[in-house]
């Protein structure tokens, strides 16, 4: 089983600590990187592309974030999509249970799925296997 890279984009510090632990426990990913908002994440992605670094396999994206929220990040992705050499598997992981957010996610072709918090190890396994 190949090693996978996962990015977590969320402004909740506590959540980031928790998800790191969960990811570690799942032992599916060998590298976890966290970002506090969409802006940080997209900038890192652009840098990685230009440096031809290994890109993350899975991105867990929160919606509500300051500076650049999840939707802002998705817009940026759509702009640079052609320059991304591999397929990015982006999951929304949000505490929101608003139906609009779910619909919006579903209608975005670059978003693979919507996960409501809390995220469990089983969830992670499922998305890893799906790939």
């Amino acid at each position: 089983m190949s090693q996978k890279k996962i990015w977590v984009v969320d402004d909740d510090q506590i959540y980031k600590t928790i998800i790191k632990k969960i990811i570690d426990k799942s032992a599916i990913f060998d590298a976890t990187t966290t970002f506090s908002n969409g802006k940080e994440a997209i900038n890192a992605l652009k840098v990685a592309i230009s440096n031809k670094e290994i890109l993350p396999d899975i991105v867990l994206l929160d919606i509500e974030m300051p500076v650049m929220d999840g939707w802002g990040f998705m817009e940026e992705i759509a702009l640079i999509k052609d320059s991304i050499p591999q397929r990015l598997i982006i999951y929304i992981s949000s505490s929101s249970i608003a139906i609009e957010d779910k619909l919006k996610a579903k209608n975005n072709p670059n978003i693979v799925g919507y996960m409501s918090k809390p995220i469990t190890i089983d969830d992670l396994k499922l998305i890893a296997d799906f790939d």
Partner: protein, 947 residues
């Protein structure tokens, strides 16, 4: 023969020229009479001349005699002088001499030129001792007598002693020696008497004595003279002893000339009279001659004319031998009329060319004429042409008599009346046609004679009178009007007319029609008479008649005078169309119209009709006044009234909509506002039907319903709805907040408890429990904040106080003074001590703090930061605006979230996303609003409506 013709010609010439002849006679006689007059004149002149000479001669002799006597006297006196030169017995002899010669008034002896002796001395004393050689007037004459040595008479001259006299002086010589003069003084008047001058015809002649003045050379005349001397009117002779000339002057020298002229004139007049008489005489005969010539000419002309008429006449003329019927002579027209040549015609008889139906009558007439029973005859008959056609002719036959009044043949004149006959037939046909049209016409028709009516009107002097006067006259004299009505004579009526009156025949009709049965028919008849008086020839009116069953019928009466009878009105066609049914139908229509009208008026809406292109209204129901305040008249007075009064905001869209729908021929239903007369806005619902006819839109029809109340209710409903929606939105927002903010914590808690459960080491567990503590604190905070928001929203009894704004602002700035100082921010404010508002003090504090701290927090560190806090009043509302020149917010992206809970837009660690959320809730709880304007990188302005 030639002479014979020439002679009368010559005479003719005189006769033809009577004026010339008269002139010749006049000249001839004039010359003769003038010659005679001249001759008489010449002989008269001669006679007169001889008479004058004789008279002159007599006078001359008398004068000579008188002078001779004077000479003798002077000589006798001289003989008194003795040789010594002294006179002897002068007195005695002087006396004797004076006695013997009465003409002498005095004698003198003048020795040596000096008057020494005078007899009688008495009266002559003045001349005594006068030296005549010295006196001027005597000197020349005295010397003259001495020179010629004979007695010389001087004078006549004025004497010193008075009177006029002639002085004769005889030079006396004694012994060859001049002694002096012997002088005789002759009184001039006596001298003249002696000369016999006074005995000449004083009327005819005048006598004159003259002397040539030797010194001046002028002729001196001594007697008063009345007649001017001319070359011819006098004779003269010289008297040498006195050096005198004596004249006999013809007083009436011109009388001869006058009589000569008179005679000549008389002669000329006489000649003229003769001349004129000659002219008159000759003229008469000339006129006669001319008359004869004229008549001869006209006779000849007539002959030519007759010939021409005969040949060229546009009637056929034939000379027919009556017994045989042979055509002796025929003219061109006759030949042409029947298509024969003249030669062919002459071989025919009149019988052979006459139609057999007319022949019997023709022959009978001819026979009667021949027998002298009739003088002439004329008839219309038919001829056969050469081609066998029938030619109609109007034949007039008159006998041709010879000089003995015996009939030799007849003259027939035939007028071609074929066309006339054809026309007559056509007329008869037309007449029949017309008659059948008239009788069978479905419209009741009458032919009437109004001539008696017109005559009566003329008699009443109503023709061409003022219509009003006529009307008044007829109304005030109903009897006359009725009589006029009875004067209408019926000529014809058709079947339909009889049916209309429900009568069997004309007589019954006239009975029914006899009376003007009511005021309506009376008025209508008066109108008819007024029209006739105005000489109108046609008239249309609706009137009422009564049929035989006494039923009233409404009729449309058309009264038309037949052409050609406009003056007399002898023939008039009267159309009587029964319009009773039509009237009834009209009434039904009118009733239903009224019904519709009242329906329209009762409908609770404005019923209208308008032009589909211009939207110009053609009808609008009365209701408009009730709903909009405008009268229907006002509305219809302007073609753009509707569009002019649509509420400005709605106008364009409404008109576009109507045009669009009309073009698609779709009925439409829409709502808009109009401005009523009292300037209020009225909401209308307009339901429009597009009315088409023959595939063409002819009008729009619709109804406008006042929906203002509905609209108000709707508005109220909408605001309630908005409120509810807002509440709902807030609730939803709250639920989101709850779901998001609480869920993020609960999910964290859930994850943490999971992790704790499966933690392997104690350190790990402790670490997780610490995390759990953090989450629980955060959850606590969130719950606190939510409680705060719920408090704001549910606090219905907020305390509102009158507050001074300035101290609250200052207080806020004091709290934030460290941040302000650190960032070197300039605060600008227009708020003074006087600025007061009504607000909840805690909210005001909270709002000011949140707004200003936000402005400070998001300042742009790269430039001088400024925050403006401005208070203003607009439209009675108070506003507080807080502007900064800070980093700004991307409203396009975040506009909808800006006032949300836990919405943060920067990576600022202090951002909690709760301030604006609370602020908004507080402002709205106070009944105000908050709006934001922001440009990224330029700054942000929050505008708070306080009340």
């Amino acid at each position: 023969m030639k002479l014979k013709t020439n002679w009368p010609k010559f005479i003719n010439w005189y006769i033809i020229n009577p004026k010339l002849t008269g002139l010749i006679v006049f000249i001839f006689l004039g010359i003769i009479f003038s010659l005679l007059a001249s001759k008489q004149y010449v002989s008269n002149i001669e006679f007169k001349r001889l008479e004058k000479i004789n008279t002159l001669e007599t006078i001359h002799q008398n004068i000579e005699q008188s002078l001779k006597n004077s000479y003798i006297t002077a000589l006798t006196l001289a003989l008194t002088i003795n040789d010594e030169g002294t006179p002897e017995n002068f007195e005695e002899i002087g006396q004797k001499l004076l006695k013997s010669n009465s003409a002498i008034s005095a004698v003198q002896l003048v020795p040596q030129g000096i008057i020494k002796y005078t007899y009688p001395l008495k009266g002559n004393e003045a001349a005594m001792n006068l030296n005549i050689f010295k006196a001027n007037h005597t000197k020349i004459d005295a010397l003259k007598s001495m020179k010629y040595d004979r007695m010389y008479f001087s004078g006549p001259l004025n004497l010193k002693q008075g009177g006029k006299a002639i002085i004769g002086r005889l030079p006396v010589y004694i012994k060859q020696k001049f002694w002096g003069f012997s002088a005789v003084i002759i009184k001039f008047d006596k001298f003249l008497d002696a000369s016999g001058v006074n005995s000449i015809g004083k009327n005819k002649y005048e006598f004159q004595l003259a002397k040539r003045n030797t010194t001046t050379g002028k002729t001196e005349f001594f007697l008063k003279q009345t007649t001017q001397l001319t070359n011819l009117n006098f004779v003269k002779k010289s008297v040498t002893d006195g050096n005198w000339d004596i004249y006999i002057i013809d007083k009436n020298a011109n009388s001869l000339l006058i009589s000569y002229i008179t005679n000549t004139m008389l002669g000329l007049i006489l000649a003229l009279v003769f001349g004129i008489l000659t002219v008159l005489l000759l003229k008469k005969s000339t006129q006669l001659q001319v008359l004869v010539n004229k008549q001869a000419l006209s006779l000849k002309d007539n002959e030519i004319k007759f010939k021409t008429i005969f040949d060229q006449a546009s009637v056929g003329i034939a000379n027919v031998e009556l017994k045989s019927g042979k055509l002796i002579e025929v003219n061109n027209y006759f030949c042409k009329m029947l298509g024969y040549t003249e030669k062919e015609m002459k071989l025919k008889t009149f019988q052979s060319i006459t139609h057999p139906d007319d022949l019997i009558e023709d022959v009978r007439n001819a026979k009667n004429l021949n027998e002298g029973k009739i003088d002439e005859y004329s008839m219309e008959k038919r001829y056969f042409s050469k081609q066998g056609r029938i030619v109609w002719g109007n034949l007039s036959v008159t006998p041709l008599l010879n000089q003995n009044k015996k009939q030799i043949s007849v003259i027939g004149i035939v007028e071609n009346i074929t066309i006339k006959k054809e026309n007559e037939e056509l007329i008869v046909k037309n007449e029949n046609h017309f008659k059948s049209l008239f009788y069978d016409s479905p419209i009741p028709l009458r032919e009437e004679d109004f001539s008696e009516v017109k005559k009566a009107l003329i008699k009443l002097k109503l023709i061409n009178r003022d219509p009003e006067e006529v009307k008044q006259f007829l109304h005030s004299n109903p009897k006359i009007t009725n009589e006029l009505h009875l004067l209408i004579k019926s000529i014809n009526v058709n079947k339909a007319c009889l049916e209309l009156y429900k009568v069997k025949n004309e007589d019954e009709l006239s009975n029914v029609k006899k009376h003007l049965f009511n005021s309506k028919s009376f008025d209508d008849f008066v109108d008819q008479i007024v029209a006739i008086c105005q000489e109108e020839t046609s008239l249309i009116l609706d009137t009422v008649i009564q049929d035989s069953n006494n039923h009233n019928r409404n009729i449309n009466l058309r009264w038309n005078v037949i052409r050609g009878y406009e003056k007399t009105l002898e023939r008039v066609i009267v159309y009587n169309e029964d319009i009773t049914e039509r009237k009834d139908a009209d009434k039904i229509i009118r009733n239903s119209q009224e019904k519709i009208q009242s329906l329209i008026d009762t409908v609770d809406g404005i019923v209208w009709e308008c032009n589909p292109e211009t939207f110009a209204f053609t009808f609008v129901s009365k209701k408009v006044e009730e709903i909009l305040g405008y009268s229907a008249q006002e509305w219809l007075s302007s073609p753009t009234f509707w569009s002019d009064h649509i509420y400005a905001e709605d106008k364009e869209s409404i008109i576009d909509f109507c045009q669009f729908k009309t073009a698609k021929r779709e009925d439409h239903d829409f709502e808009y506002r109009m401005i009523a007369k009292d300037n209020t806005v009225v909401w209308l619902r307009d339901i429009v039907t597009v009315v088409s006819e023959n595939d063409k839109i002819i009008k729009l029809r619709g109804i406008m319903i006042d929906i203002t109340k509905t609209k108000e209710v709707e508005k109220h409903l909408k605001s309630s709805f908005d409120l509810v929606s807002e509440q709902n939105k807030r609730l939803l927002n709250f639920s989101y907040i709850v779901s998001h903010n609480l869920r993020s914590h609960t999910s964290n808690i859930s994850s943490l408890t999971d992790l704790i459960q499966c933690s392997e080491t104690t350190e790990e567990k402790d670490e997780l429990i610490d995390l759990l503590k953090l989450v629980s604190n955060a959850l606590n905070d969130t719950l606190y904040n939510l409680n705060e928001v719920v408090n704001i929203q549910t606090n219905l009894n907020l305390v509102v106080e009158k507050l001074k704004l300035k101290p609250y602002l200052d207080n806020t700035l004091t709290i934030l003074r460290n941040e302000i100082r650190t960032n070197n921010i300039i605060i600008n404010s227009n708020i003074t001590e006087k600025t007061e508002i009504h607000y909840n003090p805690a909210y005001l504090e909270s709002i000011l703090y949140n707004m200003i701290s936000n402005a400070v927090r998001y300042c742009d560190k790269n430039r001088q930061c400024e925050v403006d806090i401005l208070y203003s009043c607009e439209d009675g509302k108070r506003y507080l605006s807080i502007s900064d020149n800070g980093i700004g917010i991307d409203l396009k992206r975040n506009g909808d979230k800006i006032f949300g809970m836990y919405k943060t837009f920067t990576d600022n660690v202090d951002s909690k996303g709760i301030g604006l959320f609370i602020t908004k809730n507080q402002i709205e709880a106070m009944g105000g609003t908050i709006t934001i304007e922001s440009t990224l990188g330029k700054g942000t302005t929050f505008k708070i409506q306080l009340t």
